[in-house]
Symmetry: C2
Subunit: 191 residues, 2 copies
Amino acid sequence: MAVATTSKKQNIINIAAGLFRKNGYKATSIRDLAAAVGIEPSSIYSHVSSKEEILAEICLDSARRFSEGMDKTEKTFKSPADKLHALIQLHLEIAYVFPGSIVVFNGEWKHLPDDRLKEFITSRKNYETRFKSILEAGKNQGVFTFDNAEIVFNIIIQSLTWPYEVSRKYGKAALQTELTNFIMRSLNKNP
Amino acid sequence: MAVATTSKKQNIINIAAGLFRKNGYKATSIRDLAAAVGIEPSSIYSHVSSKEEILAEICLDSARRFSEGMDKTEKTFKSPADKLHALIQLHLEIAYVFPGSIVVFNGEWKHLPDDRLKEFITSRKNYETRFKSILEAGKNQGVFTFDNAEIVFNIIIQSLTWPYEVSRKYGKAALQTELTNFIMRSLNKNP
DNA sequence: CCTACCGATCGGTAGG
DNA sequence: CCTACCGATCGGTAGG
């Protein structure tokens, strides 16, 4: 017997993430998912309790990845510039290795049931707060220049949130170089 | 009799754009739309032939606005910097006055039927080509600096594509100032 | 993991 | 613009 690399449940969720990304959550039926997995529709419910639960696992898994990435970034780097640099890499890394993150970027989290939605938004706000702190620290130290940290945070997040197909056209390295240059040049007070 | 400001059809499409933006195209039923308009579901079909047609009108209207904005920009301004500045304003202007554009930004155009999808993508590619020409001209004239025009185009477009609720938190003026500074500083070869 | 099935809702039509 | 309705598809359950 081979060592299990992914549980059947996780496998279903991964396949669902791919379908949600391509066609959207609402446009993907349990029947579509079952066909892609290779089982009968009702068998999906042996592994997950509902379609909403699948979405919740995808969204909260993505949120967890960002949260842990932020933990590591804060611990590993001292200067705001180094931290920001690491966060740019984090976003691209997650987008490239975890297809479910694209589902989140596409805004499908709006279909989460109330309790999960609250959980997700809380995690997101926490990430935003920590990100803005890094920007503010850079401004206070005289290395970053901008007016409104919240607006700049959103600009950066948006610039890092690419449609899946577009992002795949270029190598991760090329994307990372251009994005890092673009963002860092913008914020750099003393070029 | 009052002068008709918007046709009943256009009114339905505008209301649909609001619902598609908030809940998504697939998650918005004809029944939801009819209730928002204040008529019975079947009456929707006295004004539009299908749900897909509503989406097509929204997406192609948005595409037309961008195309016409690009026409005007190319005619009115000479320097790449002035043109880029105008395009930033164009994006924010459209996002603020036309709710349907947000539907497009949210990627709902993926649900267009084949022929309309082709039409939409063609218009989009045309816009991209013209936008990249402006970037390349700036690079050739030694005023812009970047590696890959296509990647930079996508970065700029993404940075201008905000979730509706977030963008409404700040005044249009504040958003415009910060975005213009952010993008122009990035590209500016001689700060 | 399957067969068989259910109630709800969907986009859309007939006919006035 | 409405009443009345249709076939298709949906998420999910029962029972094995």
